[in-house]
Structures are given as structure tokens and as C-alpha cells.
Symmetry: C2
Subunit: 462 residues, 2 copies
């Protein structure tokens, strides 16, 4: 490890500059006006893969392209590792809540602030840097490596599944490593045992053809904003349980060991609450905060819009009202089934004086880890080596929909190895990544590959 560590020390400042270059590209996949930027971020990854020593190309999809890198020097009999990440980012709005502009990365108080710093450009970059060091220093890797960086993760990866199906042989791997999540706490690395899934929809309510005067028409013409509020109010019962019939049918009963592991994690509700600034925590009765975040499904309103929302008082009776509503799912819930349940529920509770539509926006399945095997052990030991403490097993409330699909299509075991920290504002203003983890993360990955570099340990899983 000495040779690669020294190389890391020499290259760290350059790596930071390169990451900043990557973060400056506003690759907001959800916005068509950023299509060119998004492609540019994909090309940037291809160039980095090539300069690291991999064969790389930008492959077209129906949407944003995939940056694919390959190093097959370990030979056809060696195992193959797939590294997955994404080069697209969430929209940055509301811009006025950012302390510094979202696409002008800066280091402030030991944190790299920028949209994508944690999710996922910063973490994808760790892999690119580690591969560059290993190939530059040693000329080879202990396993074949395929790097797949997509540009549509933040819009539900619509092209990725067809892409993986199409390139199934080329992407074939024994394990897939993904760095797109957070450690449990500063100084306490973690490996994931689960991810929540997602079912995201828009509920649209239409009353009159166009906005009306609330005096001239109010009282006799339906108010879609009021109706929408009533529909949303039916989605939970008083104990915080979601009311869609059948919603909990597929929710896993977690085993005692997993629940006990979660129960002993160092976690303070009051610290967590204070970090959010909310007056109190809340959620489904009968569960602790970590269970609510990792092991229980949710139903959230992500956005509301109707009528007049500007300054002052406009007496309008709105024609339309819209809510973005999403469900976080746990094993073994199915997003398509949940959207169907939402549709049926909304149709049942909606009155006949308005038109109500449920539009599915995207979905992804939840995931459960199998915490065993050569790659998992290498990851665990590498984290312990780099951070000086054994990683804990944690859940993740967020979703990486492709994880279950990689396992299903490629037969690769997923390992979720995240380097962000809690409170990273991944989908919010002031997203950040700890500057020190640029080094620690690359160091972990160098240790990970070093641990795979023992012929006696590298056995292709059955």
C-alpha cells in the first residue's frame, strides 16, 4: 500500500481541482435546458476514465448517455467488479437558499459545497481517482473492472434498465460497488443492509376551465385546491400509518438480528431533530427514528401548487391544483403496485365535481443486502483499515432503484459503500461532502483493491 498511498498524497490537490471541474458542470438531468450540460458531464467522465487507463466510451441511450469504462487486464478467469455511479444531479432550486452558488464549488469549514458534491459526483470521483492511482503505480488491477456512470439517476433512471438488459454480457460482474450514500456518522463507516424503494406520482385536480373570481364564483364552483387538501389528508391515519388498502401486505418483518443491530447504533433523537431544525420529530407510531427512516415505508408530499402564490392577496378560485406525492418503500413492496393502490384510493375518495388524475412519475424497488462473500469482506476490512474502526451495518432511507436490477439481471452482489456524512443536503440547498473524505475515500478504495489482490482469496462466487 505504501506506493499507492504516496501517489495519493502527491495527487490529492490535483484530484480536488479535477473534482471541482466536474462539479462546475450543471448536469441537471430533470431539466431539458441542461441537456447539453448533462452530456458534457458524461463526456467528462469518459475522459477521466481514459486518462486513468481504462478503455472508455459514451454510449447512447434513449435519454442521457452512459459513460462506460472497462479494464479487462485480469483476464477472463478473474472476477469482474462493476462500479456504478451517476454524473447527473438534482435541480438546485431554491437557489436563494444556497450560501454559495450550487455550481461554483468551494471548500468552507472542511466541507466541499456544491450540487453533486455528495450525490454523486464526489463519490463517483473517488473511484476514478483510485483506479488512476492503481493503474499508474502498479500497471494492473487484481480484478477486471467495469465503470458505469449514468446521467439519469435523479429522474428515476428510465434508460438504465434497457441499457443493462442490452449490454448484459458486457456488464456481467460478480459484484457491483456503489458509493452514493452516507456513512452512519463522522468517524463511523458503514455498509448498507437495505435501501428503500420509491413510488413517485403527481395528483392533479381540475375544477373550472380557468381561474375564476373567488367572489363571483366562490361557494358554488368546486375548489380543486381544497379538494386536493382533503385527498391528501386521507393518506395517513392518526397513528401515522398509510391508509392505502393493501399497502402493508408486502412489507417485510425484519429479523431480530437486524433490528437489534439498529437498536444499538449510537443515535440521539434530539441531535437528529436539532440538525433538521424541526420543532419535533414525528412519524408512524410504534417505531424508533432509525426504524422509521430505514425499515418502514412513508408517504410524503414533495410539492404543492395551486392558484396565486405571489405577494399579497389575490382573490382567485383556482382552476387546478397539483401535489407531488411519493412513497418510500421497504422490502418487498413493489412500486407499480403502490401506484395502483394510490390510484384506486384517490378514485374512491375524490368527489365527482372535479377531475382527478394520478400520473406516475417514477419508481424503484427496495433492496436488501446479503452481507457476506469476498467483495463484501474486502470492503468491510478496507473501511476498517482507512477509518480505524470496523464499519457498522446500516439501512438507508433513500433509494437507488437500479441496485435490485443489477442483482437480478447481472447476478452481481451489490455492496453499498458510502462516504458522505449525515446532513449532506443531498437534495437540498448547500449540499456538501467532507473534504477529508476525498482522501479517506480514495484510501479505502485502494485498500479494497489491495485486499482483492490475493489469489487465494479471489474465488468466483458460485
Amino acid at each position: 500500500m505504501k506506493d499507492v498511498r504516496e501517489e495519493l498524497g502527491r495527487s490529492l490537490d490535483r484530484f480536488r481541482s479535477e473534482l471541482f471541474e466536474f462539479l462546475r458542470i450543471p448536469s441537471v438531468s430533470a431539466r431539458s435546458e441542461h441537456d447539453a450540460d448533462t452530456r458534457r458531464a458524461g463526456s467528462w467522465v469518459v475522459e477521466r476514465l481514459r486518462s486513468a487507463g481504462l478503455d472508455a466510451e459514451l454510449l447512447e441511450t434513449g435519454g442521457h448517455p452512459v459513460a462506460l469504462g472497462e479494464w479487462r487486464g485480469a483476464g477472463p478467469d478473474a472476477p469482474t467488479l462493476l462500479v456504478y455511479g451517476h454524473y447527473d444531479v438534482q435541480p438546485a432550486e431554491p437557489l436563494e437558499l444556497w450560501t454559495s452558488p450550487p455550481f461554483e464549488p468551494v471548500v468552507r469549514d472542511g466541507r466541499i459545497y456544491a450540487r453533486g458534491a455528495a450525490d454523486d459526483k464526489g463519490q463517483l470521483f473517488l473511484h476514478l481517482a483510485a483506479l488512476e492511482i492503481l493503474l499508474a503505480t502498479r500497471g494492473s488491477l487484481p480484478v477486471n473492472v467495469v465503470v458505469l456512470a449514468e446521467g439519469e439517476e435523479e429522474v428515476g433512471s428510465p434508460s438504465l434498465l434497457p441499457f443493462v438488459e442490452r449490454w448484459k454480457e458486457r456488464l456481467g460482474a460478480d459484484a457491483v460497488v456503489i458509493s452514493d450514500s452516507a456513512m452512519f456518522a463522522e468517524g463511523l463507516p458503514s455498509l448498507l443492509f437495505s435501501l428503500r424503494g420509491l413510488a413517485y406520482a403527481e395528483i392533479r385536480v381540475q375544477g373550472a376551465r380557468s381561474d375564476l373570481h373567488s367572489g363571483a364564483y366562490g361557494g358554488a364552483v368546486p375548489n380543486p385546491a381544497m379538494t386536493l387538501a382533503r385527498i391528501l389528508a386521507t393518506l395517513h391515519d392518526e397513528s401515522g400509518r398509510i391508509t392505502l388498502p393493501g399497502f402493508y401486505d408486502d412489507v417485510v418483518e425484519w429479523d431480530e438480528e437486524t433490528r437489534a443491530g439498529v437498536a444499538v447504533l449510537p443515535f440521539d433523537d434530539e441531535d437528529f431533530r436539532a440538525g433538521t431544525g424541526a420543532p419535533a420529530l414525528s412519524g408512524e407510531s410504534g417505531f424508533g427514528t432509525l426504524e422509521r427512516l430505514w425499515m418502514r415505508p412513508t408517504c410524503e408530499v414533495n410539492g404543492l401548487l395551486s392558484g396565486y402564490t405571489g405577494e399579497g392577496a389575490k382573490t382567485v378560485l383556482p382552476a387546478r391544483a397539483m401535489a407531488k406525492v411519493s412513497f418510500r418503500l421497504v422490502p418487498d413492496q413493489d412500486p407499480a403496485r403502490v401506484i395502483d393502490q394510490l390510484r384506486m384510493h384517490v378514485a374512491r375518495v375524490a368527489p365527482g365535481d372535479v377531475i382527478v388524475e394520478v400520473v406516475e412519475l417514477h419508481g424503484g424497488r427496495p433492496w436488501r443486502a446479503r452481507p457476506e462473500g469476498v467483495f463484501f469482506e474486502a470492503a468491510r476490512d478496507a473501511l476498517e483499515e482507512a477509518f480505524g474502526v470496523a464499519p457498522v451495518l446500516t439501512g438507508e432511507g433513500g433509494s437507488i432503484p437500479i441496485v435490485t436490477e443489477f442483482e437480478r439481471i447481472l447476478g452481481a452482489k451489490a455492496i453499498l459503500l458510502g462516504f458522505a456524512l449525515p446532513g449532506a443536503n443531498m437534495h437540498a440547498p448547500d449540499e456538501w461532502f467532507p473534504d477529508a473524505h476525498l482522501e479517506k475515500g480514495i484510501e479505502t478504495l485502494l485498500a479494497f483493491y489491495s485486499r482483492l489482490d490475493r489469489p487465494d482469496r479471489v474465488v468466483r462466487p458460485a
Copy 2:
């Protein structure tokens, strides 16, 4: 009447051009970026008053100025008429729903389309034109006339009440005529027996300090948009009645004659519904559509905003949610009391995991007419003369908060004489005023003044 009618015929095209000039000024009082435009519209009214032959000036207030015109030629013993209107307009958004730009008036299919065409520039202009014709043709008016055009009606007239109190002596009048409403139907003129009042507030809910990732925090951190929906859903019961304790305490029981007069008005629910485009009508059980619009109070959501409302799916747990909520009030409800009732209700139903605030935006008292007296009769007869059919007595669902204040402070009986037509889109895109009513409206006002021009009839009310 022949002389003034001929003058009207000669001047009509010029009047239309002048009105268009007025309509081109984007005097949106609610938006500070239009402050200069709003003042310009006030100055425009002053100039028109002067060219009509009145003494006029722009008087400062704490907000937008008042355009005041005076003609005292009838002498101190003659009655005085106060004409009230407003030169400010509603915001024009959403702009994309206008067929032609809101501040570029055009005549299309016999309608003048522009923001303010009906509410209230077009109707205020009728008075300016009628006064000009009478003074140009006859050199005098049968009564003293004061014209008061304010620039804050669309933001709740915050400066008008202090203004009227301050200039109480100067504004002293026997009657106040207001043209800011609609006729009951095309070809069927009407005089108002009531106006609804208004209590307008914003409900603001705050959860976390800033927007959070709905995966990383969802399920344990309160969702203010969901809470807001639940609060709004408590505002009505299943029969459409408003649930605020005490809300109906001051609601008048209308006399049999008024209810019977409303019951026989030619009104077709299905035509009304079709005009709005809503799938069905709705409202408080036990009341007909006109009763719901004129004689019963309402509670409406005028606007909703929370979280992410753009294209695509952003998985945000919003920090804030906002609803604009307004109540239309009927005699003898008090807006301040209703806002208090809302505050108490919201405080009772809001959970402790969020901060909920009710901010009063504006209010106005409801009004009931006393349909009698010289001025009222002159108005009734003038409408019959101009339109060839006797006016009906109707209610108005909208609010003109200053009406009760004029009566209270100045002792002037209010006469509400509207020339717009139903469906005029007063607070919505494609606002319009019937082009033919430019002539009919001025003709009515000419007949109104002619009828006051009989010394035997003009007696100062006791």
C-alpha cells in the same frame, strides 16, 4: 337628452381610444415593481377629470395616491353625489393563459379584452365620459359631484379608510355611486341589494429549517405540506358548512321578499356550470346556486405552495408550506372576528411538530342596500331607459370593502350600478367588458343625471 346623446355618438370612438390608453397602464397595485405604473394610472385619471371640466388633483396617501375630482357648481344647498372607482388592477398572472396580452386592449367578438376592462377601469371610465359630455354640452350638473378613484382596491384599500376619515368634510355626500360589478345577465340590468365581505389570510407551516432529502429524512421529520393539507381539510364539514366555531353566529337570516326575488331570477344551473367548465357545481347543502353565491359565506383556498413544483420528480421533504385562504362574508359577519376564529381553529387542529402561523392579509365588511330614495330611483329609471327593461335586484358574491365605510363615515347611501357581464374574468385571464356597454353605460349615466335634474325631486335626504 337629445343633445347629450348626439355628443355621445360623436365621441364614442374617441372614448374607446382613451379607455384603451388607460387600460395599457399596468397599474398592478399588489406588485411593488408596478408602483410607478400605478401612480401613472392615477395621474391619468386626474388629467381626464380636468379635461372633463372638474377640479382635480392627485392626493397622497400612505400607499398609492387617490385621484380626486370635484365639481361644486350646483351650490352648497344642492345634494352631492360621490362617484367611487379604482384605477388599480389585479395581477395578470398566469400570463400564458391570456389569448392576447393583458395590457394590450383589443376588441374581439364585441368584447374589450384587457386586465381592468371590467374591474374597474372600464366602468370608472363611463363616469368620466358621462361627466365630460354633460359639462361640455350643458355647462353644469344637477348635483355637486365628487369623483374618488383609488389605487389600492385590489390590495384591500389599506389607505382609503384613513383617507376618507381625513377628508370626511370634503367627501361629504348624499349618495355614492359605484360601478364595479356586473349586470345580472346580458340585456337584464340590475342594482345590488348586497355585497359579500372578505377575510383573507395566509396559513404558513414550517417543519425543518430547510428542505431535506425525502429518503434520508422522510418518515421521521414532519412534512409541513401534509400537515397543511390536513388543516385545510378540517375547514368544512361534509355538508359544505364551515367548521370554525361561531362562524355562523352573525350570518343574517334574509327576509322572505329578498329570497323570493332571488328565486324568480332567470338562472340556469347547467348554463352556469357549463360557463365555468367545472364537471359539476357544489357548495353548502340546502341552498341554491344564487344563494350560495350571494347570501352564504364561503371558505376558499386561493393559493397553495410547497416544495418542488417544477418539471419531473424531485424527492424533497419541504421545509415550508403555504396556503392563501379567504372567506367571503355575508351581513353581518365581521372580518376581524372571522380571522380570530380561523386563528383559534388552526391553533387547535395543528400538531406540535410544526410551527403554524396565520397572517391576516386583508378584510372588508359585507354590505346590505337600502333600495329606496331619490338617487336609487334615478338609477333604476335610468337603467330601464337605457336598456329598455326594468332592473332586477341582485346580490354580488364579490366584495367592495369600502362601501360600508362610505355609508358609516359619510352617511351616503350606496348605489351599486354595474355594467360588466357575468363571466367577465375579473380576476382571471382574458378579462373583458362588453364593447356595446361603453355606449350603454354612458347613456345610463346621462339618463341618471337627467333624472336628478328636476328641482322638485331633488330633495336632500333627511
